[in-house]
């Protein structure tokens, strides 16, 4: 019951959460209706909007709000273990995402059947990759929310990710002929939320257009999924440790 309440709270904690879901779903429908994209085009749109922006919106201040109001002191007292609180929150957001992606698939399917246009090719893989990215970003944002006040956790991730990719893009273009950017790209590829790996996996780069053929291509896709889940676990563990270690005061921020 306690767990159920903690999970349910992630949806009810702020009034705008259901609006975010509705707006996002309308966006998908609108994008499909207006542009009649093929599967990969729509997949990329969903990947960014629901894989990256949606978790930022849903986890904005997920712990920051409670820390700011002093409610966190009540929440982290025994018998509630800090880890349990963290896991329930991430689980709550993940369940919301799961329902969100199922609804997305249904909307697209209905529009596809009504309009008899567009393509559903690769849509399943794109939705799955978006879900994986969602939980990774949600875990990162939730962990950050333990140490960053109010809703700045999401804002910080947004600013850092956009800035880093912008700088990386500039460096890659200017350093292409002069030096090896391998270390930089390796860090972004493996320690960062797995944008590149998951988009390659969903876009079929480990399938139809992969540089490899045969069973290794399948194992590469599986490895992408495993790595993404591993990152989620690592980000979550960091969050749990931070939540367990941090001393909270009852005073409002």
């Amino acid at each position: 019951m306690r767990k159920y309440e903690l999970i349910r709270e992630t949806f009810c904690r702020r009034g705008f959460i259901w609006i975010v879901h509705v707006v996002w779903l309308v966006l998908y429908g609108g994008f499909w209706w207006l542009f009649l994209p093929n599967g990969p085009e729509f997949g990329r749109f969903v990947f960014i909007w629901s894989g990256f922006f949606l978790p930022l919106a849903l986890t904005a201040g997920i712990f920051g709000d409670d820390i700011a109001s002093g409610r966190i002191c009540v929440l982290v007292t025994k018998p509630l273990w800090a880890g349990e609180l963290y896991i329930c929150r991430v689980l709550g957001v993940t369940l919301q995402a799961t329902a969100h992606f199922i609804l997305t698939g249904c909307i697209v399917l209905i529009l596809h059947l009504i309009m008899r246009k567009g393509s559903m090719e690769y849509l399943g893989t794109w939705l799955f990759a978006s879900w994986l990215l969602f939980i990774t970003v949600a875990a990162l944002s939730t962990s950050l929310s333990v140490v960053v006040g109010r809703t700045f956790n999401s804002l910080l991730i947004l600013v850092v990710v956009v800035t880093v990719y912008f700088i990386l893009g500039l460096l890659m273009s200017s350093m292409r002929q002069k030096a090896d950017t391998g270390v930089l790209t390796a860090f972004i590829r493996y320690a960062w939320p797995p944008f590149e790996l998951l988009s390659k996996f969903a876009g079929g780069e480990y399938g139809k257009y992969s540089l490899i053929v045969g069973r290794f291509s399948v194992s590469k896709s599986v490895a992408c999924v495993v790595h993404s889940l591993f990152l989620t676990v690592v980000y979550s563990l960091i969050g749990i440790i931070l939540l367990g270690k941090r001393q909270f005061s009852r005073q409002r921020d």
Partner: protein, 412 residues
């Protein structure tokens, strides 16, 4: 006891997770993005036999029709409806994904016609003026001797080709792909089901794995169902050709493989790659680009000497033939006022250097895959069709003396 059990479970889960991640990291990072010597395929007799059988089946077919969808990771698809008839007749209708127009290439064994539905697309050999004059109600007519020409090359003139054909359709007419003589080896990669047909997968590497092709050959009729090509240039390029609606004994009526222009249509003498190059007397555009030895080469530094500028790439059979000749020429004229200057803006540096080493090319070379270098080739030297090799002779004052594309066997 219970706590100890719990700790043991957590340790087991953590170790299993780390092992799994170790495996995932190894698999994800062990990417074949960069060329490695192990990519050069060693011949396996059974796989080679499969490849030869596929070529023979193509050549022995009386008639052949199939639909070929060529695509790449950019999600763009070109669809070709191909009809081939012996001895040298064919009809190819091409369309691409958003376009409903079908542009057509027809050959009857003596002549080849190319025509477009409605306004023709802007081709890379066009300039604004010529395009305005020839944008509609025109056609191309060329002589087409049996088994001597590549259809896949002519298809480019249709102008809507995002992804070209991988397997040369002229193989059916007895044409031999120039790449055939550069096959390193053929090996088997197992079997796979393609749209309900059991296929053998073979891997063929060309030119020391500068290019690799995978063929999914149907066990039933020995014809391909899917072909994947990887070009290892400055970056890797992957494209896929998928065959469907294959009819090896298709009835192709005579009127399908001949064409006469509608009334009022004009014949367009399409300029060849040589026609759009720099003309004699024009100033050769200067450049300052990276050289093979890591330094920089500036064309104007050679002012006062005659420069033979040769633009090349590893994946071009003509370049592979001409560069050793140029090296010989360079050695013979080394101390005269003639400079041989190579220029490669297409290939991966590692591969280009390896190619130079293998062919003992010692003349100065530009190896620069930057956009600046590409601009020099496309806009400066007007090699809009990227035809290789491209030769430009530049005199001591920096003016072009002559420019031409390609390599002619036995040409001195």
């Amino acid at each position: 006891m219970q706590i100890r059990n719990k700790i043991n479970i957590w340790i087991t889960v953590a170790v299993a997770g780390l092992i799994l991640e170790g495996w995932a990291f190894y698999v994800v990072s062990a990417s074949p993005e960069h060329w490695r010597p192990s990519m050069i395929v060693k011949d396996e007799p059974e796989a080679r036999a499969l490849y030869n059988t596929m070529i023979e089946t193509l050549r022995k077919a009386e008639n052949l029709s199939y639909k070929s969808a060529c695509s790449g990771p950019d999600d763009r698809v070109c669809t070709y409806q191909i009809q081939l008839k012996k001895p040298n007749a064919f009809r190819i209708g091409v369309t691409n994904d958003p376009s409903l127009k079908i542009n057509t290439l027809v050959g009857n064994g003596d002549w080849l016609w190319i025509y477009w539905q409605g306004v023709r697309p802007y081709l890379n050999i066009d300039d604004e003026e010529s395009y305005a004059k020839t944008r509609s109600e025109v056609y191309i007519k060329k002589a087409n001797p049996a088994g001597k020409d590549s259809i896949a090359r002519e298809v480019d003139l249709l102008g809507i080709i995002w992804h070209g054909l991988i397997l040369e359709p002229s193989t059916f007419h007895g044409f031999t792909d120039p790449l055939e003589s550069y096959i390193d080896g053929v090996r088997s990669r197992g079997s796979y089901d393609v749209r309900g047909k059991e296929c053998d997968i073979i891997e063929v590497s060309y030119m020391k794995a500068q290019r690799t092709r995978y063929f999914w050959i149907c066990k039933e009729d020995h014809l391909p169902r899917q072909i994947k090509q990887i070009d290892r240039l400055a970056e890797n390029h992957v494209r896929v050709e998928e065959w469907s609606e294959i009819k090896s004994k298709a009835m192709i009526p005579e009127h399908k493989v001949t064409w006469s222009p509608p009334e009022g249509w004009r014949r367009w003498n399409v300029p060849g790659p040589d026609d759009v190059l720099l003309k004699s007397g024009q100033k050769a555009p200067d450049f300052d680009l990276l050289s093979a030895d890591g330094g920089r080469i500036k064309l104007s530094d050679y002012r006062g000497k005659t420069v033979w500028l040769c633009m090349w790439e590893c994946g071009c059979p003509g370049c592979r033939k001409v560069l050793p000749d140029l090296q010989k020429f360079y050695e013979e004229n080394r101390y005269k006022d003639l400079i041989i200057l190579g220029f490669n803006c297409i290939d991966n540096k590692k591969m280009a250097r390896r190619f130079m080493r293998e062919n003992a090319l010692t003349f100065p070379n530009i190896l620069d895959s930057s956009q600046d270098a590409e601009k020099v080739m496309l806009r400066g030297y007007k090699n809009k069709t990227k035809t290789m090799p491209l030769h430009t002779i530049i005199d001591a004052q920096g003016d072009v003396m002559d420019a031409w594309c390609g390599y002619v066997e036995g040409h001195e």
